[in-house]
Symmetry: C2
Subunit: 431 residues, 2 copies
Amino acid sequence: MTKVVAVDVHDVRFPTSLGLHGSDAMNPDPDYSAAYVVLRTSDGPEGHGFAFTIGRGNEVQCAAIRALAPALVGRDVEAICGDFGSVYHELVYDSQFRWLGPEKGIMHMAIGAVVNAVWDLAAKRAGKPVWKLLADMTPDEIVGLVDWRYLSDALTPDEALDLLKKAEPGRADRERRLRAEGLAAYTTTPGWLGYDDATAERLAREAVAQGFRQIKLKVGHNLDDDRRRLAVARKAVGPEIRIAVDANQCWDVADAVSWVGQLREFDPWWVEEPTSPDDVLGHRAIRDGIAPIKVATGEHAQNRVVVKQLLQAGAIDILQLDAARVGGVNENVAILLLAAKFGVPVCPHAGGVGLCEMVRHLAMFDEVAVAGHTPDRVVEFADHLHEYFVDPAVIRNGAYVAPDVPGFSAQMRPEALERFRFPDGPAWSGS
Amino acid sequence: MTKVVAVDVHDVRFPTSLGLHGSDAMNPDPDYSAAYVVLRTSDGPEGHGFAFTIGRGNEVQCAAIRALAPALVGRDVEAICGDFGSVYHELVYDSQFRWLGPEKGIMHMAIGAVVNAVWDLAAKRAGKPVWKLLADMTPDEIVGLVDWRYLSDALTPDEALDLLKKAEPGRADRERRLRAEGLAAYTTTPGWLGYDDATAERLAREAVAQGFRQIKLKVGHNLDDDRRRLAVARKAVGPEIRIAVDANQCWDVADAVSWVGQLREFDPWWVEEPTSPDDVLGHRAIRDGIAPIKVATGEHAQNRVVVKQLLQAGAIDILQLDAARVGGVNENVAILLLAAKFGVPVCPHAGGVGLCEMVRHLAMFDEVAVAGHTPDRVVEFADHLHEYFVDPAVIRNGAYVAPDVPGFSAQMRPEALERFRFPDGPAWSGS
């Protein structure tokens, strides 16, 4: 019997604040970090996963993952990989851990990291990338991945089953298209607040030349700056390229409506995270106030219950799930099903470290087996830190290429784990 | 200059699961625990605070508090106690820590513990209990405690100021009444799911004999059991005593409506936590479905943004703030102001360990200086673990007595910190 013999946890941090990569209205100096977990097994592949953070506190995130280790060590790998709902369900319903959320914040992200590591392990054992493992499941199997508690007023298992069955006949065609064309991406690379205008303009032109049809700019720190930067970007890319803007939660409702009103002439496609990610009713009010400019949020939506309400309330036009914020693949399947039910396109959040690598799997599963093809699904891409991953995200003609390597692509190269180990790796200790 | 010289963190756990105290539909076996923090100073009193958890993971909660220590060590005590908003604001807006919530879960509870320890310290230095320290502040000072971000669509600083000024002339009378009569409490002691009928009946009778006018029963595990237990309790207390029921988040919306419908004949006063604490719209739907039975929630409301929405949506009849879930006294002041604006009575959550001790201060401040007197404000009381506190909650004729000891009453006796230290204190190591 193959067993989980250890749960290794690594505190990995990249000193990204030095280059102002990732700077926005609420996060001036992130050090992209991972609370990284490896499920070591007695035989065969390991499972890799992580929670993404931006620096300080990553050690607390690591401690939370360590707290979950006793639930995994000694377990039969065949059993936990054979029943994809079991680890997620066990960890979420440990009543003592549950108190620390429930289903939110550090403990929930820790559960997500472990659940994703189990998916990585299962996919490696199955010899498939996660997107394909998911897309090959029957509708019943997919419905069985979800924790349906708290969802039935918006989506029942039977409705989800219907929706998946309707998508089933088109799976093969969509998979062919996906393998041929990839999945449309947009890029945040030109848009960080810390860049000067010349850098932003150059990066915007380059993005279009690379085939991207959408870019994104950070806004919300200073209105005059935002207008100037948007003018620069709009001039650089022309009228056909979509420009999204991202306020990173910095406004109250009325501020959002008035600020975005001042950006209207630059034709922003969506406004991302205009206010608190917890504020369902606030997003609805903002959406009413800025239409037809779209409202997007979700990267900080803590769990499926918040997503459910964003959809029920008609608060968003675009749902931006994150691979490492909620309870792993299982909860993201619930989120994809909810979005499909409400007809809201899912444009996943990525960037940071390793998020592009993981999130493409979820978007590709959505394309093939859940919502189906839509030109409104674009997946975020930021060109940082991919070199440290074993199976890095690949972009061709502005689109994510479908990965073929078995697993969830969360695995970092051993030399990266070593070099960026906090606080004593060479990147931090200067040695 | 008096400085903070150290931030000590203690992992303290009480083996309450052995007696099934605290057992409910979602939490069968809690070990009431505290991630306990002491701000040690170079001179004069220390500041004590804690986050409350129910066992496993308390070490992660402790790690989160430790992560905040560098922000406190070396600080001028006079300065941090002189500007009550500063520590709260600094910690909440540390952008790297913020990513771990934002403003929710383990990191936010850690901030709450530290902020409450600062209040304890400040109140000791002022020679006043926290309720009196707050109740002696001017309306302007009180408004200055709040982080107003995300609130302006529901409550502005000016509205809060008006509300506090209207309450000002009555402060002295209400303080006199409070000192004479205390603040009405209700008791959860008879209601735990793990008790047999005879125990529950005896405890219900005793509660009435002690002067309580309201008791609370846990429900949601089994409908037949709930009907039988409610019948026992109703018979024991008679028709005049209010019986609240508490489902501890176990239902979906439709289940809540139908289950509560089956309890109607026993005249429940409120239904507490019928579903996910994150589900604002769900609580609204349940409230519509069970009226005139009231809906109560809030002990797991993660921050002021969720509370704002519960009030905006008309989702609750009773708001149950918790002293140790959100960002400390400062955020609870925001929550009290929001509730007062919407005319919803605040009936704080207590029990666990030390929550009764702290929360009475917030309720008494609400009574004297914010919402004023209302017969609908009852504060939870559960008769566990008070013996381990330096300034324990005192109940007389079913009411909390106003404490006179300077501070926030969060301080445990040193022998309790020693005996219940996890995992090596005598209560756990058996030595």
